[in-house]
């Protein structure tokens, strides 16, 4: 085995038989994001992987304790700007449960529309990165371009392209513009047509199948016990979707399927979000049909206070189950807010899946876990 001298003069520790090489994948690595995986490889086989998050930790939970309920809204969506409505949704629900605030019916539909659009924006972003991680540059450009269709819709409704600050306790900030419905239906139809194109170039491409099939298999038992969630859990065959099992707002009035796959490999984890996008388009169209007219926001007094109490609310965001544990002590500021984000729960699955995989499988496994470093660090 070769002993390499690192630039800082650190001698790489070879293992006893001198076969193990330690690689630090990240945080300045094109295949990691703001995140580090300390990987030990024996030739091309990964023998150990140690996730090291925390490079973009900004103490959201502590920040929450210094701001009042409304002021928490803009900064809480910062960890996940690609799905900013999704990460705000359970906070708003929890505030409403603690304060027992009634939400107008129209606002519930608008929230679902925006949450689904945002989830799709995230999934396209995720798919684009998955494409480039596997060396497929076209699959990077297409979803990134088509994402514009949805960002355009979100911008039309909320006035901002990524950080909307749109949900508030008691409804949403503003009503949808009049032209939103027609435009949304037109663009979603076209987007559906674009989604069909992805299949030929990516999902049925034999080279993509080679890269992802039977790679990083996560059994249903392991998936549940490791606490992974969302598309990763459903790809392992567990039918677990918060929208279905614990319908919040008006999801119980909508008709949609929960997509599951049995295999639990990277391919299934890449395919489930893709199929879910069709369901999401379906949900948005149903919402646009069923949406009643009326007010969209319950008027609250300035600087509202909550009663003493706690709430645990969860929603199905783009990456899976996103939960907030909120404790209120009766002051205008929350006593404790805990974000249980799906990305953080995926970390546990990472060493489990990477051990024994090949180094070339690392991006395929790592990114199929729907991991978003900024969200995990909060």
């Amino acid at each position: 085995m070769i002993q390499l001298t690192l630039p800082s003069g650190i001698q790489v520790e070879p293992s006893e038989d001198g076969r193990i090489l330690t690689l630090s994948v990240g945080p300045q690595h094109p295949g990691s994001g703001h995140f580090r995986l300390i990987v030990q490889v024996d030739g091309d086989i990964i023998v150990d992987a140690d996730p090291d998050p925390g490079y973009v930790h900004r103490g959201e939970e502590k920040m929450c304790e210094y701001r009042n309920w409304i002021q928490n809204i803009p900064h809480l969506e910062r960890p996940m700007i690609a799905d900013s409505c999704g990460i705000l949704y359970p906070f708003v629900l929890a505030c409403e449960e603690i304060g027992s605030i009634k939400v107008p019916e129209r606002a519930k539909y608008i929230r679902i529309i925006m949450a689904e659009i945002n989830a799709m924006i995230f999934e396209l972003y995720w798919l684009a990165i998955y494409g480039i991680f596997l060396g497929h540059s076209t699959m990077f450009m297409w979803p990134m371009g088509d994402r514009e269709l949805l960002i355009d819709l979100a911008e039309m409704a909320t006035g901002a392209r990524v950080t909307h600050a749109y949900f508030v306790p008691g409804g949403v900030r503003n009503d949808l513009p009049d032209t939103f419905r027609d435009k949304a239906i037109r663009q979603l139809d076209y987007f559906k047509h674009r989604l069909d194109q992805y299949k030929d170039i990516f999902y049925t491409n034999p080279l993509f199948l080679d890269r992802t099939e039977r790679v990083g298999v996560l059994t249903a038992q392991d998936a549940i016990n490791l606490g992974v969630t969302g598309p990763v859990l459903r790809a392992s065959g567990v039918e677990h979707d918060i929208r279905k099992i614990e319908p919040y707002d008006v999801y119980d009035e909508l008709d949609f399927k929960v997509i599951t796959m049995k295999t639990g490999d990277s391919y299934a984890r890449a395919y489930v979000p893709y199929l879910e996008m069709y369901e999401r388009i379906n949900i948005i169209k149903q919402c646009l049909e069923k949406m009643p007219s009326g007010p969209v926001r319950t008027k609250l007094g300035p600087n509202p206070k909550g009663p003493v109490g706690e709430a645990f609310k969860r929603v199905e965001a783009g990456r899976g189950e996103l939960a907030y544990y909120v404790v209120s002590d009766g002051t205008p500021k929350p006593y404790r807010i805990k974000l249980s984000v799906p990305s953080f729960r995926m970390i546990a699955a990472m060493p489990h899946l990477l051990k024994g995989a090949k180094l070339a499988d690392m991006p395929a496994i790592y990114w199929s876990l729907n991991y978003w470093p900024v969200e995990a660090d909060r």
């Binding site: 103490g59 603690i98 304060g99 016990n225 544990y325």
Partner: protein, 178 residues
């Protein structure tokens, strides 16, 4: 939250009041199962629709979690949160456990809280039961200084390596300028 000045009396849930409120049948079944097994060791904090919370002691934690996982069917760790209560001199570690397998429990979140003394917070790790709590417990360790005994790797996770202050989510840690 409601507006200032109109705080509804019924929603301020002190723990004794909630226990008397009507518990829905499915939740009642779970609560009965737990109370018959553990009796006085597990205290019911509240049982709202879809949300149940028990307060238990740290020494019973592993046994309780194992019973919850194997017998009751709550098998998916969702979150581990720690809350600091300097007034009562306790740190509360609360595990939220969901369920993926039993159909009628799937919509529920089971929470159990451990009240630990603030000066020496120690509790056994629940990794043998729920593997997924490993990183949640590490986060709780560094954010609140709770020591999870027998945890395989109780080290820094999110904070910088040169963090030399009290754990930041304790209430006596203050952000500068605030």
């Amino acid at each position: 939250m409601s507006s200032e000045g109109k705080q509804p009396e019924q929603s301020s849930q002190s723990k004794e009041a909630v226990a008397k409120v009507e518990i829905p049948p499915v939740e009642k079944g779970i609560v009965d199962k737990i109370t018959t097994k553990f009796g006085g060791k597990a205290v019911l904090a509240y049982a709202k629709p879809r949300r149940i919370r028990f307060n238990i002691k740290p020494e019973d934690a592993i046994e309780f979690a194992r019973f919850l996982n194997d017998e009751v069917g709550f098998d998916q760790p969702i979150s581990v949160a720690g809350t600091d209560y300097p007034k009562d001199n306790v740190i509360e570690v609360i595990y939220h456990i969901g369920c993926c397998t039993v159909p009628e429990y799937r919509s529920m979140v089971f929470a159990f809280a451990l009240k630990l003394p603030r000066d020496n917070p120690k509790t056994p790790t629940l990794i043998p039961v729920y593997r997924g709590v490993e990183y949640h417990e590490r986060e709780t360790f560094e954010m609140l200084g709770v020591i999870f005994e027998d945890h395989p790797k109780l080290q820094r996770l999110l904070l910088p390596e040169d963090w030399a202050d009290i754990p930041p989510l304790r209430k006596d840690f203050n952000i500068k300028g605030r």
